[in-house]
Amino acid sequence: MAHDARRERFIDDVLAGRLSRREVFRRGAALGFGASALAAALAAGPGLARAAQEAGTLNVSSNNSDPEPRRFMEEVTVPGFTTKTGTEVELNTVNHEDFKQAIRTYLASGDPPDVLTWFAGNRMRFFVERELVAPVSDVFQAEGWETAYPEGILAVSKGADDEYYFVPTNYYGWAVFFRPSILQQAGIETPPQTFDELLTAVDTLRQAEITPFTLGTKAPWPAAAWFDYLNMRTNGPEFHVKLTDGQAAYNSPEVKETFANWRRLLDAGAFIEQPEALEWQDALTPMLQGEAAMYLMGGFITDSMTTEQEQDLDFFSFPKINDVPVGQEAPTDGFFMSAKAKNAEQAKQFLAYVGGRESQEAAARDPELARIAVHKDVPLDIYPPLVQKQVTLLQEADYITQFYDRDTSPEMADKGMAAFVEFMNNPDDVDQILDGLDEERKRIFENG
């Protein structure tokens, strides 16, 4: 193609240093090269561009294995990047759950992928501490992301040394989702704002023979959402973060108060019977069938609903309990770069691309994906109304957390989530459960 031939010639010109700086940007932009790529090429000199051409293939490992995210990655993100920079990408997609285990071997191997998808916060810091992730603060500065991303997101993109290691791309919120028609049927006009109102709503729904909350804890993480919110609303997000960092005790009076509140919900019959039998998708069915009213869930709940079902869906922020700052969960996904990346410069170009407004806006505009972009320049009005409301909720939050299994160590998450499910089964054993959990905390965080 003529266009390609022109691009080839242009690259040759840049390599040979035949063009002035202005010339590079003018002609480069006309040929579809991104400004950052051109800047990077110029900054590093002709050698880099030569390397970019010869080393060629950038190796990206992705956990976007669900159909829609996978399609977007394969058909939009990667081709977009290749068109923009000329760098070919070899994309390797691994099942989301398997990826969590495989990433350790990837990163520790002698020939790791250049760029990998991962989670912000402690999950990322685990590998940063082991010096397996490359710092990318230079990309943040070059792209001006320190003003383009929200504060809370910047915080979870940093390692303990205050360097940036993680490029966030999108996040999703958590809230109490409900079907307005069902609440109305039971005579509840306004969603509960406080814990007492919530308990009243639970009673009202029980009297109308509707299960107040559906829940599936076969995979135990949805129980962790309950713990996170009850603990944040009871003791405030700062205490909660201290706890997930291993700095506070699970058998402290604060945590016991959290579980006492949880107990009140259990005693009021707030939850569906036998949540242990259900996956989170299974638990959605009673709500869609009109047998359950509410569901504490992430924004991805709509992935499993038809557009028609989404018409009768709304959410409210988890009700207030004590007078403490409001924390919200907003797990953030993104990319980082292996410390041993062979194609380090191209990897940084890729990070600059996925962290940039253009690519994030594309993901936000995609009707099937509707991920909330991290970049603040992505206009709010492109989202569906329900997502817009989520963004507002998160922007109003005093504190953003990443979710229990991302905020704490993987091992603590495993023990903690099992304990939450056990508590819901045997609430009388709460003291014993919390003592056991604190023994685990001491052991896990002592080892570092």
């Binding site: 076969k218 036998q274 242990e276 993987p410 495993d414 099992a418 052991r443």
Partner: protein, 327 residues
């Protein structure tokens, strides 16, 4: 393994044992030949064994010792590794999840030794007769064995599903509805439900082994017993079952090994839940090593699991060798 019977040609080289040779002369001849063989080239067998032994050492023995070494460290399998002595084992004996998993393995073991053995033998006896349709039943009962664990788990998860699963719907129809039983959700039931699914699959396998065994039972012995006026039960108890004894040993050993390495159905049906009540040692090891990044602790679990297996394997081997020598 090599046994010399009759006056067939004796082995050229001294591999295996010469035991119970029927007459004195061939025995002497064999012994003489053996001695000669030993003198001539007593390294020959080792030469033949060299390659398999090297591979065995590399892929089995080596990793075994490496696992043992790892179990004495606190390695995360990634970057750091510090010698911690027996700390992992001390943690193990104080870990409630370990004991729950251990006893679940024991339950699995006991049920696996008894139920499929009895059920499989019963079915084999039933279907070993020349009645119309037995082939169909044989195929139907054996077919679960050819299904992958993923399919077995998916089918049984549906059977056990509390809302409209097969069992609870049937109970509803029979009028025993009422409270829906969460077969996989109830902490006390979950492990038995999984073992039930595993047993369903195992029975067909055991049946097939017994059917093969029954083909080797000389029918004239049964006829002779019948002629002597033995009842069917007598002829089974005193003639057929004793003749099936080697098969029974194999069946029990297979069941023991399958019970100890239980993993797939647990992983697929409950992930050890609710709260580890249906956990087994194999799955706990996997979780600790690969999900919780505790390679050292996972290795300690692996070592314990291996020691338990060894108890059974050595018992079995001793019996096998003893039986062989006694023939």
């Amino acid at each position: 393994m090599a046994q010399i019977s009759g006056s067939g040609p004796p082995p050229a080289v001294g591999v295996g044992s010469v035991a119970g040779a029927p007459t004195v002369a061939p025995q002497r001849r064999a012994t003489a030949l053996l001695r000669a063989g030993q003198r001539r080239a007593d390294w020959t067998p080792y030469l033949f064994l060299a390659l398999p032994l090297a591979l065995y050492a590399m892929w089995v023995i080596g990793p075994m010792f490496y696992s043992f070494w790892m179990s004495l460290t606190d390695t995360d399998g990634l970057t750091y590794s510090e010698f911690v002595g027996l700390a992992n084992y001390r943690r193990l004996v104080n870990d409630d999840i370990f004991w729950v998993s251990f006893w679940n393995n024991v339950k699995w073991l006991v049920i696996f030794i008894t139920v499929p053995t009895v059920g499989g033998l019963g079915l084999a006896l039933l279907l070993n007769q020349d009645l119309p349709g037995t082939r169909l039943f044989k195929a139907a009962i054996f077919s679960p064995m050819v299904l992958s664990s993923a399919v077995v788990a998916a089918v049984w998860s549906w059977v056990f599903f509390p809302q409209d699963g097969l069992i609870n719907s049937t109970l509803d129809l029979l009028g025993y509805g009422g409270e829906r039983i969460g077969w996989l959700a109830d902490p006390d039931l979950a492990i038995y439900s999984i073992i039930g699914a595993a047993t369903w699959r195992q029975i067909g396998y055991v049946m097939l082994i017994y059917l093969a065994g029954l083909k080797n039972v000389d029918p004239s012995l049964v006829d002779a017993a019948k002629t002597d006026g033995a009842s069917s039960w007598r002829s089974f108890r005193d003639v057929v079952f004793p003749l099936l004894q080697p098969v029974t040993v194999i069946v029990v050993v297979i069941s023991v090994i399958d019970a100890l390495r239980a993993f797939d159905l647990v992983q697929l049906m409950t992930r050890g839940g609710p709260y580890n009540r249906s956990n087994v040692l194999g799955f706990m090891m996997y979780e600790e090593a690969f999900e919780n990044y505790n390679m050292g602790y996972g290795a300690a679990l692996a070592v314990v699991l291996m020691l338990i297996s060894m108890v059974f394997i050595f018992t079995y081997l001793r019996r096998m060798l003893k039986d062989e020598l006694e023939y």
